[in-house]
Symmetry: C2
């Protein structure tokens, strides 16, 4: 079916804005946001991706590297490096897996927990600061779309 507005086969009137369809605009918005997210994070202690992984461990409890790789849709070697930086930076801790000697369980360290409290308080993150500049209506619309965006991102 149509994806975010009419597809070519929907009828005789594709509208006045042929390629200005939702797909193109969504792609652009995602790419620009991601680009800015990464770049603005470069002065921070953690990169955007590191922050995402760190936040996920904090949210979803102890996880193995493999679980994290699947959740973030990166390959295992990429996650190895991300986790390596987070562990050597003191944000995450590696604990042995109770049942399986090959795996580890990653959890937020004490230092890491304190770091989250600080950054939540300071609100220095680019995304949080810029969301605050939107109208209340824009924020709630984005908030409403979040589950759908997550489902889109996690589709096989």
């Amino acid at each position: 079916m149509a994806a975010l507005q009419g597809s070519p086969s929907d009828g005789p009137d594709p509208g006045p804005d042929p390629e200005g369809d939702g797909v193109g605009r969504l792609r652009t918005a995602v790419l620009v946001l991601g680009r800015r997210l990464r770049h603005q994070a470069s002065g921070d202690a953690l990169s955007a991706t590191e922050m995402a992984v760190f936040g996920r461990v904090h949210r979803d409890g102890p996880l193995t590297p493999g679980q994290l790789a699947r959740a973030e849709h990166v390959q295992p070697p990429s996650m190895t490096r991300i986790v390596e930086r987070l562990v050597s930076g003191g944000y995450l801790e590696r604990n042995p897996h109770p049942d399986d000697g090959r795996q580890h369980l990653l959890s937020v360290s004490e230092v890491g927990a304190k770091f989250i409290e600080e950054t939540r308080f300071r609100r220095t993150q680019w995304l949080a600061a810029h969301l605050d500049q939107l109208s209340e209506s824009d924020r709630s619309t984005i908030h409403a779309a979040l589950p759908a965006l997550q489902r889109l991102a996690d589709l096989p």
Copy 2:
């Protein structure tokens, strides 16, 4: 004010999911989507960013490299390389600027226009194909959030 759900100062009840706030989830969704968009595009003729720039020229008419760089939030040298590939691939054409010898105007070539028609018909793009797998309700929610996401991406 609060950004996508309660901030720490909103009251005594931060909810059961401290860091599972909208900011973190939005960051993750954007990063994962961008990652998959880039990766899945690697088999295509154009990368995700190239497609975004190409689509913008198609949408918004002849543009200069500088205008494109500002619109996509990349630095001018980055846009130079993106445009270079699109021009040498035959998708875009460089035309002299009527008033200013330093600038060029980029427009979609005949081959480029045909390419857009084909890909719209084939729907091979990762994003379009996956949007089609969402429910109608999810698609319309995302569609409704698109202007807000664009404003967020374009904030100074």
